[in-house]
Structures are given as C-alpha cells and as structure tokens.
Symmetry: C2
Subunit: 312 residues, 2 copies
Amino acid sequence: MIKTFLVTGAAGFIGAALAKKLVEEGNLVITVDNLSTGFREGIPEGVEFLNGDCQDEKTIDKLKSRKIDAIFHIAGQSSGEISFENPVYDLKTNTQSTLLLLKLALATGCKKFIYASTMSVYGDQENRLISEDDTTFPKSFYGIGKLASEHYLRLYEEYGISCTALRLFNVYGPGQNMENMKQGMVSIFLSQALSANRIQVKGSKYRFRDFVYIDDIVDSFLLAYRSNQTQFKIYNVSTGIRTSVETVVSTILENLSKDMTVEYLEGTPGDQFGIYGDSSLIKHDLGWTAKTEFTQGVKNMIIWADRKSRNG
Amino acid sequence: MIKTFLVTGAAGFIGAALAKKLVEEGNLVITVDNLSTGFREGIPEGVEFLNGDCQDEKTIDKLKSRKIDAIFHIAGQSSGEISFENPVYDLKTNTQSTLLLLKLALATGCKKFIYASTMSVYGDQENRLISEDDTTFPKSFYGIGKLASEHYLRLYEEYGISCTALRLFNVYGPGQNMENMKQGMVSIFLSQALSANRIQVKGSKYRFRDFVYIDDIVDSFLLAYRSNQTQFKIYNVSTGIRTSVETVVSTILENLSKDMTVEYLEGTPGDQFGIYGDSSLIKHDLGWTAKTEFTQGVKNMIIWADRKSRNG
C-alpha cells in the first residue's frame, strides 16, 4: 500500500533531502512551501507542490480532504540571527504553522507528526553534554517559537497523535544553500573559500558546534516515523562531538588545495558559544546514530559544491 | 511630573483595577482593548481608550509618537479551557501581542514592561510549593503562549528594557466578570449561588487553588513598576495557601444566608488539579505580600455583587 506523506518545506535543505528519500522509497509526497528561502527547482522530482505558507489557514485547508500517513513539519524561518529582524514573522512561520498542521493532522486522521525542532531551544549552557531534560533558555525568537511548538506537540498526545520533536543540532552537507551567508557555518565558510579564497569568521574561533550530516538527519526522521511509540518524545539529533570553528576552517583548508586567508570579525546577536548534545536517548529508543564523520561529510560537500559550480 | 502608562486590557477585570488605581494616583493612563471579553463601561473614568487588538500592528503603531513610562500588558484571552477552542487566536492575543508591545517599548524609549503571566505555565506539578525555577510544562495553549511571552521579555533585557513577568495565581474579587461561566472559580460559584441557588462544580472537590485577591494583584504590578531592578525577573504572585474547591463552596455558603444545592460534574480539559506558589522571591525583592485573607475577600466580593445586582 502506497503511503502519503506531507513534508513541509521541501524546497529547502532538509525538507528536500527527506522528500527525495521518501519518493525514492515509492511513497507519495506532498509539500507546502512558500519559496521564501527555498527554491522551486530544489523540490525533488515527483513531489506534489502546494505553493503557500504553512501559517496560512486557507493553504493548509486545501489538504483537508487528503489521507495523510504522516506529517513532517520542516518548513519555517530557520535562523536564530534572522529571527531578530522580524520576530512576528518568525512566530507565524515557526509556531502558528505548527498549530495549523496539528489541526490538519486531527482533521485528516493522521496519527504521526514529526517536527524539526532545534538545539536553539537550550540557549547557552555550561560546557557539558546537553540532554533532553536540561533546562531550556532560548536566546533567539527562533528558539522561543520552536520551543512553544514542542509544547503544542505535547498537548496533541492526548488527541491520539503520536508526535516527535527532533532537536536538530548543526546540520550540514550537500544540498545546503551556498548563497545564504547568514546561515550554516560549513556552507558559509565553504562558499567564501570557493568564491573569494577568503574565510570570514564572525566571532571567536573557540566557539564550537555539534555537526550532523544531512543523510543522518534524514535517517532520524525516518526512524521517528517508523517507531511504534505513541507518547510524545523529544530527541537530540546530535553527535556529542565538539567541533571548534577553528577545526571547521582547517578541515575546509586541508581539503581545498588553494591559498586562503582567514579573518576574524565580531559575533552576531543570539549566537551560541557552543553546545553539544547527548544522543543516547534517540539511540536507545530508535536505534539512531550519526554515521558520517565530520571530515568525510566536508569532503562530500566539497565534491558536491565543485560539481554544482561546474554544472552552473 | 505626570507619568503616562499603557495598561492593555483595562476593560477587563485586572486591567480595570490597575488602571483605576493609576488614575487615582494622578497618572495619565492609556488602554488598548478589543472589548472581546471586557466591557466598554468597565474601563475606569479618565482612561484614554484605544479600541483595537494588541496583536494588530496598525493599532499598536498608533501609540508610536507617545511618551510612555511603563507598559503593563494585561490584555489577552485568559482561560486555559477556552484556549482549546481557538489555539491560533490564543497565540495571537497572548504572544504576538507581547512582541508588538515590546517593539513599541523599544520605539518609544519606554524602559519598564510588566507582563501578566500565569501559574498555568507550570502545568501539573507534584503536590508541593512551586518556585519560579521549577520546570514549566503548560497543559493548555494559553499556558504555552504565556510562557513564550516570558521568554521574549528575557530577550528584551538586552535592549535595556527592564521586564518583569508576574505569574498570577487564581485572581478573584470585586470587578470579576460574573457573567463568564468558564472562568474564575469564585465568580462562577458565587454567580450560580446568587442566581440559581445551586452550585455546579466541574471536577473533584479535592482540587485546590491558590487564591489572590484583586487588590493584592494590583499591588504586585505597582511594586514591580517601582522597583529599581533592571534585570528580567519572574515572580509568583501567590499566597502559598491551598484552598480546596470544597472550601470555596463552603465559604460562599457560610456567607450567604440561603438554602443551596451543590452538584459535582465532570472536569474540563486542561484544568489543573492544584498548584500553589512560593512567593518568597517577590517578598524578598519587592516587599510584596498577600494582605487579604480568602474569607475576607469572599465577603467583600459578596457585598460588591449584592450591591451590583441591586443597582442593575
């Protein structure tokens, strides 16, 4: 029996990767995307495209007559930094949208809802491995809106919808938007390196990130969908490995045979010094582990970017 | 020098009481109210009234040229139960409104922002005194939206706005809406007793509440405004006293010399079993204490309701 999935934001980095995988597995995939940061041509072949906002009730209502086996809600403004430019928009795109999609799940009898949350819900923490039950002090409008969405999912457990919030750490890999200079440390540095032979770092080189490769992220969504759990669950999708900004830069430099200058500038508002996540819960419950090491992931990304630039 | 205050929701119970006090003290008071649950005639004399939604940017923008010494944000849908009827409306009225008013504070150079939050941010807790640093697991859309607003206030500390979130426990007293049968345990029971000689209790009589009298609530807002603190602070506004539903009923019965029947029915969604709050932090920082005992408060309310019914 062919399954039907709604993957919001399939014109974007993570949504496209997940939608592509689901199509390859022989499923029907619908997406809602407003193309505000994603690209029409980024939507994988075979995906049914509804052009509109997930925070717009009229758009979401168009799906009311569909049978949907699971909703993967990935669309939304996805940068802590950018959320300071228009907090009301951020609230609508990341929080109001979740309410409307949960309502859609209820109306269509959809029993699975998997949400792309974020490590930004934690805010700054002491320098130690962060678990799902640690306190949440988001430092950006983005993180606050994502946290509110998680709470909504928790309420929907009582309506018989099995909800999972995946707190994604720093996602990177082929498919990431190399034009967006405000988001994605690896893509920003790599893009600078390829286009200008110069990497500009905003903030300290001692900051660190917990990088997760895009294929591993896609796996986490699939495993969450296949799980038999009915209770609301929150999972870190993280490696537990601290990779410093300095290491990101040196990994790129080592894998590009070019001369390069590196500059250090002031930081950006709402940026986190560093946070890395304990993933033992998702490993225990869903059997998920991060399979791609950072060096390998960066190599894959360089090959992809190189091929992309040659194909125009 | 005359001060100018914005008190949102002055057509409602708490907003009206605070606005009245501020006018009596010789201040200029402006209110924004959409009259969705409040009443035009409830707005105290002398208050400048702007009819509109606090979640509507055009309405709030009308105040941009004003000099405002403090914003007391009290307007908003205020029932956990009702928030289940229209979660998107709840998000707008309780959360989007806060963003717009914080933006207004920034634009007008207003340095003080005091927010009516709620004990509903805690959700169900073990049967013990709740402190401000206890975990927050709101059980209603209402509680989730209020919690998100608190996080916003925290971010605005960095913009030099001194923000306080008052987590109000169960507010009651003269001025409460006696027509609203979905909100306010004391007002609901009293209204039933006066009009039908019958009290209908939805849920267990062993549930309890931490009741705070309206004059004490007004005091908490005034003390928060007068405080010299600049850091973001969250305070319980509570008595620390558990009053069971059964006691509420018996207190009303004892003070009304009428025959009365009492019925127990099923509970309502999102209702809390019971929660009572530690108020030592607000006592320590602001010198606030609850001055009105529950029995006295109920007596005052009966006298007020009686006078009101005779004056039509």
